[in-house]
Amino acid sequence: MSEISGNKEKEPKQQFPVSRRGFLRTGAAVAAMGVMGAIAAPSKMANATVSTLGYEAAGKGKWSKLKPKMSYGGASVSFVEHNDQWLGTSKLLGPVQRTDEQDGGFCLAIRGILGEKAKYGYFQQASRYPMASAFLNPTGAISGPEMVDGPVSPEKLPIPDPEQMSQHIKDLAYYLRADEVGIGKMPSYAYYASTMAPPQGAYAAGAVPPDAPISKAPVTGNLPNVIVVAVEQHLETYLATTGYDGISNSQSFRCYHATANISVIMAQYIRNLGYNARAQHFGNYEAVMGPCLIAAGMGELTRTGDCVAHPRFGFRTKVAAVTTDLPLAPDKPIDFGMLDFCRVCKKCADECPSKAITFDVDPVEHNGYLRWNTDAKICTTFRASNEEGVNCGRCIKVCPWNSKEDSWFHEAGIWIGSKGQGAAKFLKGIDDMFGYGTEIVEDYKWWLEWPELYKIKMPS
C-alpha cells in the first residue's frame, strides 16, 4: 500500500498546457453555446410554464405531436394572406355582408320557396331512407343550445404559448377521430346575421312539424378564433354510388354526426379549461363553414359555389367548427391552384344532374367576394325532390380532387394539377382517359336500396 502511494508521489505532476490560440478557441466555443442556449431559452421557458400538466410541445413550427407535418397529399401548397382584401385566394371586393341562415338552400326548401315537392322532400329526408334517420336522431340529441354552448369553468388555465396550445388542440381533434383540422382567425362575416328557429336540422329529423312557424334568431357570437374539423366522406362508397341514389344523404349525415360529436366534445373541453367556446355543427350552426375553412388553411373555393376543397380530400368532407377565445396561433390560408384547376376542369358542371353548376370561366361577384355562382335554388330543388334516391352528391363523386385512393400516381396527379391551368387541363385529360370519377365500382356497393321509400308523399 505504502509502496503504491510512494509510486504515486514519484509521478510527475500532470500539466495542462494551454496555448493562447487554444484558449481563444475554447472561449469562442463557449460563447457560441451561450448564444444558442439563449435562443432556445424562450421555448423551453414556455414548456416549463405548463410542465406541471405533463405536457411538452412538439417543437416550434411542427403541426402537432401526433402529426408533426401536415399532409397536403402531393399538392404544391403555398401560404397566402387573410386581410380585408383577400381571404386566402378569394378576392374580397367590398364588405361581405353576414347572411341569414333562412336564405340558405335547404332553408328555402323548408320555407316552401322552391316548391311543394322540394319542401316535403326535405321534410321526409330522414324517413325516406332508414339509415338517414339513424344518423339524424343522435345528431339531433347533441344539437340543443345546452350541448353546443354552456357555462365556462371559473378556473382558467394559463396559456403562455398559443402555438403550443394550437398543437394540443389539433392533437385533440385527431384523437377525436377528425381526418383533418385547422385553426384560423374567425372572419366576422362568417357568422350568420341570424339563424333560423327552429334550426333546419330539426326539420330534417322530423323533430318539428312541417308547418312550425319560422323565425329569425339574431347571432351575437363574436369569438376571435375558429377551429375547423373535417371528416372524410367514405371513398369506396362514393366509388360505388351514382352520387344521387339511396346512400347519398347518409354519406353526408355520417360525417355531420362525426364532426358534430368532435365539435361538441372539443367545445366542452375548452370551456372546462376556462375559455369561451361554441360548437358549430350541422344541427346548430351560427356560422357559415366556407370562410372558416379558408381562414383555417383548410382549402380554397371551388366551382361548386361555396364548397371548399382541401388539397388532400377535395370537398369530399363534412366539417364542423368550434369558435373560441382560447389563445391560439392561427394557421395561414393556403393556395394550391384550385381556382386555376376549376377554371379549366368543369367536370362537376358537365356531370351535375340538375345542371346547377355554372360553366363560367371566371368567378363573379357575389355578396362582396368572387366565386362561381352555382345556382343554389336549382341544386337544392333537385336534391330535395330527387326520387331516384335521397339527396345528391354527384359533384363530390366526379371531382378529380375528390375521387382518389392514396397512391403515388394520384399524388403525382395532384401535384401536376396544382401547377396552373395548362397542367390542370392535362390532369383533367388524364382523369377522363382513365375513367376516374364517373365509373361505378359495383364491388363496393354494400348498402341497401329501397326505391319504394324514395317517393315523396305529398299531403292530400
Binding site: 385512393e405 397512391s407 400516381f409 382517359m433 382513365f434 375513367g435 376516374y436 365509373e439 365500382v441 364491388d443
Partner: protein, 101 residues
Amino acid sequence: MSIFLIFLAGILFLAGVLFIKPRAKQDKTWKTVIIWTLYVIFFVVACMGVSFVYINASVGHVKATSTAIFLFGGISLVLAVVLARVLGFIGTKKKAESLKA
C-alpha cells in the same frame, strides 16, 4: 407485398443490366449512352405500369386498369423492341444474310 415488389424490381433491374452488358458497349460512346438510357426508361415505364395496374386493379378502377395495360404495356413493348434491335437480339440474322449475298 409492396416491399416484395420493390425487392423484385431491384433484382430484375440488376438482372437486366447483367443481361445487356455484354452487348451494350458500342463503337461510339453516345450509342452506349443511348442504349443505357433506353434501358432505364424502359425499366421505369414498365415498373410504373405494373404498379399503376396493380393499384388500380386492387381498388377496382376497371377502365384505368385496362387503359394502363395498353398505355404502359404498349410503350414498354415499343421500347423493348427498339432496345432488342439495337442490341442485336432481333433482326441480326436478316442483316447477316444480306451481307452474305
